[in-house]
């Protein structure tokens, strides 16, 4: 084990996978400027700056993936994905199917998002659920340094297009990462804390808020289980349902807006498949239906905070405890 930051974990994963597989290439706006160490080790052909044009960056990745390369593209901030939707959704996600399985699209698109830097709604928009909704894509959004490393490595090795979202508030978070080869399979949630009374399901930075809330709840005698989804697609239904059945109470927490978010999907799955085990309504605590504000106070108010999580849990749990 060594302690490294999330950003370092990402850099390690990139370097290790480029070393392992010469077909892995990386490009994007400023990639070669910002990742000098990759350029030094792998050369200017495999690590490239691009013109400022997200459509062709993503499209180039799709075409390259179809014909033998395994591109990783940095699309910077999630709202810029709006310029790559055709390439990601209509091409990367659909062309394996539309070609009757003739072509594969092993590529990874990285994008940052989330509050914390007061960059405003055109740099901060949690749109991961768009890609969960779209066929043919996988979606990953880790919360720990170890998972950033292990999931990025798995994403690069996966033969499908993977969206890899980086919650930008986590970049400098340190975390223990296993030494040596460390690959985390896509599609597996992690139970970060076991509990009896309620399940908190989350991903990205709000996982940490759930862990903080669970500490506070423990002091109040409420035992909360905390599940980090990590992969949003494939979604680990088994882990979600096992915990829901165990505690009978579920709160889903994320920073993305509520309507048709990942929380809606998790709640719907629980309401369908763990219905008989539920002791209380399934609750969601999410960002509001509003663009991300820039002002620090508003930005913090946008994000579900530990205090709000505790409060929501009390609503779920107290009637039972009172009874």
């Amino acid at each position: 084990m060594s302690e490294i930051t999330v950003n370092e974990a990402v850099s390690q994963a990139l370097a290790e996978e480029m070393r392992r597989d010469p077909r892995v290439v990386m490009f994007g706006e400023g990639v070669a400027t910002k990742r000098r160490e990759l350029v030094r080790e792998f050369g200017e052909k495999r690590v490239r700056n691009t013109p400022l044009a997200e459509g062709i960056i993503a499209g180039t990745a799709v075409g390259a993936a179809a014909t033998g390369l395994r591109p990783v593209v940095d699309l910077l901030f999630a709202p810029f994905l709006c310029f790559s939707m055709d390439e990601i959704v209509n091409s990367a996600g659909k062309l394996r199917y539309m070609s009757g399985g003739q072509f594969a699209f092993p590529l990874v698109a990285i994008a940052m998002t989330g509050g914390g830097w007061t960059v405003g709604a055109q740099h901060n928009h949690n749109v991961e659920s768009w890609f969960v909704h779209s066929p043919g894509l996988k979606v990953v959004m880790p919360s720990t340094a170890a998972d950033f490393k292990g999931l990025l490595k798995a994403a690069i090795r996966d033969d499908n297009p993977v969206l890899f979202f980086v919650d930008l508030a986590l970049g400098f978070e340190p975390g223990e990462v296993p030494d040596g080869e460390h690959v985390v399979p896509l599609g597996k949630a992690a139970t970060l804390r076991a509990g009896r009374d309620v399940t908190l399901i989350s991903y990205a930075k709000t996982v940490n808020h759930c862990l903080q809330a669970a500490d506070d709840l423990a002091k109040a005698g409420i035992s909360a289980e905390v599940i980090d989804l990590r992969s949003l697609k494939p979604l680990d239904e088994k882990a979600i349902l096992a915990s829901a059945r165990k505690t009978g109470r579920v709160l889903v927490v994320h920073e993305a807006s509520r309507m048709c978010g990942v929380g809606a999907e998790v709640a719907a799955i629980v309401a369908e498949k763990a219905f008989d085990a539920l002791k209380a309504p399934v609750l969601r605590l999410t960002g509001p239906d509003a663009p991300a504000p820039s002002s620090y106070v508003l930005e913090q108010a946008f994000i579900p905070q530990p205090g709000a999580i505790v409060e929501a849990v009390r609503k779920l749990v107290v009637p039972a405890f009172a009874a």
Binding site: R23, V25, K45, R46, R48, T50, P51, A53, G55, I56, A58, G59, T60, A61, V62, G63, A64, A65, A66, T67, G68, L69, P71, D86, E87, N90, S91, L95, R96, Y97, M98, S99, G100, G101, Q102, F103, A104, P106, P135, G136, K138, D158, D159, N160
Partner: protein
């Protein structure tokens, strides 16, 4: 096993154009009769397809757009399997999943038929990058329309290909139409090849209704790409003789313009030339017609006989 077609004798190119024409007219007739789904034909543009595709080598790759039957057939694709795909049958090149406007054939190097206008432009640079980085011999031919040239991705694709020096032959089939809108309503200039210079790329416009001229220009452009590694923009100036999407009554088309272009039909032109020069005899022509007709009958029979896919296919091939 698919076979890449490579015969570049004028009479072979004529027969190929006739096959494309016969295939598309038959398909349009079937559609009018309710026997097949709608599609886009390339009637009038066969010289562009055959002239360019037959200038490609076996290691070259192709990306094209919704009007792709000509490119596919010129490359050697089986009209029966194309038609089966259009009809959503199991023996279509894509198992019936793609339908009419998205046929790809990996074995022939046809990476993509995109019905997203510009989709071929967005993927072509990546295919070019693969060729450049994986040490492959071939170049990449990317067919797109004058309409696609209005999409931002045209700008992004050409610029990146120029900056990265990718081995791509961009072929703009300027057929004067963008669905139901005349090209003149969408841009002030007349020659799309002139936009190449802006990117520091070579560009050339050729008479797209003269298959020999197209073939010569494409051969030259491809040689230049192989030599320099740099992209090239070739514009084939032509005309869409049928409607945008079958059935289409062309009520919005200026009849004078249409008939002026009908007079330049690329098939009539080459046939007349070959007959006059004696390269082709009337009997030879007659035999061609018979071979083409037989091929079409066979294709229709093949597609008709092919079963629909099993509904289990609904969710296969989504993920690796």
């Amino acid at each position: 096993m698919e076979r890449i077609a490579s015969d570049t004798r004028p009479e072979a190119m004529l027969e190929c154009m006739m096959l494309i024409r016969a295939y598309e007219e038959r398909l349009a007739a079937m559609q009018a009769a309710g026997q097949a789904a709608g599609t886009c034909t390339s009637v009038g543009q066969e010289a562009s397809a055959v002239g360019v595709v037959r200038a490609l080598g076996p290691d070259d790759r192709i990306l094209t757009n919704h009007r792709s039957a000509g490119h596919l057939i010129a490359r050697g694709a089986d009209p029966g399997r194309i038609l089966a795909e259009v009809m959503g049958k199991r023996d279509g090149y894509c198992k019936g999943k793609s339908g009419s406007l998205h046929v790809s054939v990996k074995e022939l190097g046809v990476v993509l038929t995109s019905t997203i206008v510009g989709g071929e432009l967005s993927l072509a640079t990546g295919v070019g990058l693969s060729h450049a980085l994986l040490g492959e011999q071939g170049i990449v031919a990317c067919f797109f329309g004058d309409g696609a040239a209005c999409e931002g991705i045209f700008h992004e694709s050409l610029n990146l290909a120029a900056v990265w020096k990718l081995p791509i032959l961009y072929v703009c089939e300027n057929n004067q139409w963008q669905a139901y809108v005349h090209r003149k309503e969408t841009m002030l200039g007349d020659r799309i090849s002139e936009w190449a210079a802006k990117y520091g790329m070579e560009g050339l416009t050729v008479d797209g209704n003269d298959v020999e001229a197209v073939h010569a220009a494409a051969t030259q452009a491809i040689a230049s790409i192989r030599r320099t590694g740099k992209p090239f923009l070739l514009e084939t100036y032509t005309y869409r003789l049928r409607g945008h999407y079958e059935p289409d009554d062309q009520s919005y088309v200026d009849p004078a313009e249409l008939s002026a272009w009908r007079a330049k039909d690329p098939i009539d032109r080459l046939r007349a030339k070959l007959l006059t020069s004696g390269t082709l005899s009337e009997t030879g022509l007659q035999q061609m017609r018979q071979r083409v007709a037989a091929a079409i009958e066979q294709a229709v029979a093949f597609a008709a006989a092919s079963p629909f896919p099993d509904t289990a296919e609904l969710t296969t091939d989504v993920y690796a």
